[in-house]
């Protein structure tokens, strides 16, 4: 059930990408999409009533594995956040340079390539 809310967030972001009239809004919509995906990943690793995946000293491995939430999606999300940071920085730099060249953020006017 909660996964469908994540999916809703992703779809809102995708709608934003498709219908944005300005380049910066496209960047923000893509950020929303990535937030939705990270949320989806984290929730997949959740376990009802689980504890954080740090093993106390002296705790047996099997009981720790049975009680903690899954740490792998957390690692995946960390990596993915850093990747999308790089891509977002690159996109924003492109938006700035596009503004310098075309004088506008409007997507319908940044259209010299066609055919």
């Amino acid at each position: 059930m909660i996964y469908s809310l994540c999916l809703l967030l992703i779809l809102v972001g995708l709608y934003g990408v498709v219908s944005s009239g300005q380049t910066l809004r496209i960047v923000i919509s893509l950020a929303i999409v990535s937030h939705g995906i990270h949320l989806l990943l984290l929730l997949i690793g959740y376990r009802e009533g689980g504890k954080s995946p740090i093993q106390d000293a002296g705790e047996a491995a099997s009981s720790f594995a049975a009680a903690s939430v899954d740490p792998i999606p957390q690692a995946l999300v960390l990596t993915s956040i850093v990747i999308s940071l790089g891509v977002t920085a690159l996109m924003v730099a492109l938006c700035i340079r596009l503004y310098e060249r075309y004088g506008t953020f409007d997507v319908t006017e940044i259209r010299r390539l066609r055919g």
């Binding site: 891509v87 690159l90 075309y102």
Partner: protein, 496 residues
Amino acid sequence: MRPEVHTLIPLFIALPLTVAVLIQLLARRRAALAGGLATLTLAALMLMSLATIGQTAGGEVIYNMGGWKTPIGIDLRMDSLTTLLVVTINTIGLAVVLYALDYMRQFTARPRFYSLFLLMITGMNGVVMTGDLFNLYVFLEISAIASYSLVAFGCEQEELEASFKYIVLGSVSSALILIALALMYGVTGALNMAQVSGRVAAEGMDAPLLLAFGLFVCGFAFKAALVPFHAWLPDAHPAAPAPVSAMLSGVLIKAIGIYVLARLIFNVFGAGPAVLSLLCWLGLLSMVVGGLMALGQQDIKRMFAYSSISQVGFIVLGLGLATPLGLVGALFHLVNHSMFKSLLFLNSGAIEYCTGTRRLEKLGGLNRVMPVTGATSLVGAMSISGIPPFNGFWSKLIIIVACVQAGRYGFALMAVVISVVTLAYQLKVQRSAFFSALPDALRDVKREPRMMALSMILLAVGCVALSFAVLTGFSDPWLVGDAGAVLSSGTFGGQP
């Protein structure tokens, strides 16, 4: 004395990454040193990739990172398909970086180009060598980010616009791939390719896994520029500087697009008839749309970009047939297309470097003033059109024969028709740009610089040499036959 594959495997990723960083540390202002370091690195990589040939025949070499055993750790796996792609990526990378030594003189900030180029090579090597799906996503993003920056390298209006379109569509497709990864991990609890395929083979594909598979196919079809998802390619590839176009069109869409599709469909998820039929139709659509759109172009690089879409359609058609001959034809065409499409893009770059224009209506008679470009582009044009005895002829023939053998006569007929269309637009380029009269404006055009000429000649020689690959057998060309066998051997089935 040949170094063992085991020590070479992590070097393919570590070496270009380290040198990319070293260039920024040591050669930030000295472009010649940066170029020299990049060329040496790629020469080393190419020799290493040649050293891995034949060491993986009949099996695979698995390299566990950090010594952790497979379910816990990430592994790098090297089998014959990987070998084929590694050799292709690094050889064409070497030719392109030689070309770039001269071509990039018209740009500033050249050391950054070489660093980004090496990062792109790191990413591509990592994608074809990894055995873990999330690791694949990470390397995919490394090479994609490097390529987004490289497309925008000249910072002119058109390059920025093309790069923006490319980056938005690339991010959407990466998002789809990440959603698919999340779903797949949620259902199977594993990220390693072998484990996922074991789980799929044991328990079949339930709905979330099917959705994940569909999203994977969509995401990687974007990366490979198959037709409903191709909209970024005709803008991004022409706008990029010529060496970057050559790498993108020749290697990137294949390493991160087609290779991953083939791995996922054949080795991980299992190739059901619905998926294969979808591949065949997507391939046909790409062939037709790419070929027809290419006919109407006046800009050389845009025509070659549409031609890439068309040839990728051939490759995917061969993959979709799934017969051993079809797979061999597809992989052989993949290697051939890397060779001649890079050559054609480097030619168009040489034309632009020397004459300052890419429009066919302004060019003419270049054979007289740029003989090396003229000769090599003739070789490239004949290869891509499938004229014997060049390499394109063999790979297209294998695909057409495979179509006929599989009983798909309609596809075979369309493949022949599109080959003729390919010949048509290549002849158009040859006639308009090279063989016609030399206009006055171009009368004192200088010849192309030495490094550019050298690298174009190397690629042309490669085109001719690859046609000898069929000497080891029509259905089993050198290196390609083994790679095809990997794909047709079915899913990994659970053993790492």
